[in-house]
């Protein structure tokens, strides 16, 4: 409401004190509707007189019914008090776990708290997972067996080459069969990797055979044949749980090659 209307209402009700009334009268004098407002003041006075004359008489009184009113009210209050006390008595004590879970009386606040906590944990785990660098973003200079997601094409090759996990790849040198995921490379002294468990007998696997045969000269695919792999075949090595080493021999003519990276200790479990 505008201040003028508040002042007007107070002026209409004769609620302004001397100074306020004088201020309002000065404001009123310059208004174009001053005459109408003064007429309204007279109207309000007449309305007030009319209401004060008739409203009280129009209001019924309790009269002799007043005691009945009180009696009924006492009964209602007594019934209300009894109902409240009964509700308190009927409320069973809840064990701590029920209070925590909010399971017995519909109080779901603790359960909601637990659910919120679980949701926070899940979100935190998802955030940590998202922060772990993906396999594809690492430099393939040294690839170890990991559980990082595989490219779909390689996954297909893996499926084709290992349709039966119970019959792992057999070594050409009759190495005892082990699960494919546990295969480890045999590190050679020249830094190359010997494909100890490459199943050269599985000629029916064209992709695997192509990859292996492209790198292994014909007639030399024995368990002792060093096989060098480049980056393109790194995924195959990864599939087989092998360690990839760059195609740089660590020795050149029997001397140590300074440009070759050192073999990480974790990459040579077979050397034990």
């Amino acid at each position: 409401m505008k201040p003028f209307e508040e002042s007007l209402t107070a002026w209409l009700d004769d609620r302004l004190d001397g100074e306020e009334r004088a201020d309002f009268e000065r404001t009123l004098a310059v208004r174009p509707d001053a005459v109408a407002l003064r007429e309204e003041k007279r109207d309000v006075a007449r309305l007030r007189a009319l209401l004060r004359e008739h409203l009280p008489a129009m209001t019924p009184a309790l009269g002799h019914n007043a005691d009945f009113f009180s009696h009924q009210l006492q009964k209602r209050i007594a019934a209300d008090t009894r109902a409240t006390e009964a509700a308190v008595v009927a409320r069973p004590a809840r064990p701590w776990w029920a209070v925590l879970l909010g399971s017995s009386s519909g109080d779901a606040a603790p359960a909601r708290l637990l659910a919120a906590g679980a949701a926070c944990l899940l979100l935190a785990a998802a955030g940590i997972y998202a922060l772990i660098p993906s396999r594809g973003s690492t430099t393939p200079s040294s690839i170890t067996a990991s559980t990082a997601p595989r490219p779909e094409s390689i996954r297909t090759a893996s499926t084709q080459s290992r349709t039966d996990n119970t019959a792992p790849l057999a070594s050409a040198s009759a190495t005892p069969a082990v699960p494919a995921t546990s295969q480890t490379p045999a590190a050679e002294s020249d830094g190359s990797i010997r494909m100890a468990n490459v199943d050269t007998t599985r000629k029916d696997d064209p992709q695997l055979a192509d990859i292996v045969n492209a790198r292994v000269p014909a007639g030399t695919a024995t368990s002792a044949t060093p096989v060098h792999f480049d980056d393109q075949n790194a995924d195959v090595l990864w599939l087989d749980g092998l360690e990839y080493q760059p195609d740089t021999p660590s020795t050149v003519n029997g001397a140590e090659n300074p440009s070759a990276p050192p073999s990480p200790p974790a990459a040579t479990p077979a050397a034990e």
């Binding site: 409401m1 508040e6 309305l47 009280p56 008489a57 209001t59 009269g63 002799h64 009210l73």
Partner: protein, 223 residues
């Protein structure tokens, strides 16, 4: 009608209307007595609350009647208001008079009831009367069908007043009742209705204009 309030079935016949004394300024002695009774109520003394009911039941009933314009509804709502006051008596801190506090509770009960009734379509309030409708000759003015205004008897005048007040919104009706019947101050009305003094003055301003529009011919002829 308040459902399942209890007393409806056996309300005695209405007493002849007797004038309700307009509210007078609060007596400090009365306030001290009220406060003592309230303290006893807060310790579970139902008899003390009965004493408070006896002191204010007529005023409360009359006020509620002016809001709802029906004796039976006023009876039920006044009882609801007292029951609610009993339940909340522990929350009374004595920052206002007990009557103001009780008045606020009962007013809220009545206004809530009127709003629900309005939503349910039981009654239409005249929210459309604007400032331009102040002319007494407009169509909103209830026109008597019988004798001219000069010859109206008091009953007819009261019927006109009753009809005019019935067309006000619950909020406007409340401020008119509090100001003109109870003679409450602005701040007391604001406290009772839970709104600002400016809101009270605004409501009073527009409620009066609506009543002027509907009753101008009455007070022009009779006063």
């Amino acid at each position: 009608m308040k459902p399942a309030s209890g007393p409806s079935e056996s309300l005695p016949a209405r007493e002849p209307a007797e004038p309700m004394t307009p509210r007078v300024a609060a007596d400090p002695g009365q306030g001290a007595i009220d406060l003592d009774l309230v303290r006893r109520c807060q310790h579970g003394d139902a008899l003390a609350f009965d004493e408070l009911v006896t002191r204010y039941r007529n005023r409360i009933f009359g006020m509620v009647y002016q809001l709802v314009r029906n004796e039976q509804d006023a009876w039920d709502l006044a009882q609801d208001g007292f029951v609610k006051a009993w339940r909340s008596i522990d929350k009374f801190r004595g920052q206002s008079s007990f009557y103001t506090w009780l008045y606020r509770i009962v007013t809220n009960v009545a206004i809530d009831w009127l709003r629900k009734k309005q939503i349910a379509g039981g009654q239409e309030f005249d929210d459309t009367i604007g400032l331009a409708d102040i002319e007494a000759t407009n169509s909103l003015v209830p026109q008597p069908e019988a004798a001219p205004v000069k010859k109206m008897e008091r009953g007819e005048i009261r019927a006109r007043i009753d009809a005019a007040i019935a067309r006000l919104t619950p909020e406007h009706r409340a401020v008119i009742v509090m100001k003109e019947l109870e003679d409450m101050q602005y701040h007391e009305i604001a406290e009772s209705l839970g709104c600002s003094i400016g809101t009270v003055m605004s409501r009073l301003f527009y409620a009066r204009r609506k009543l002027q529009a509907m009753l101008k011919d009455v007070y022009d002829e009779t006063l």
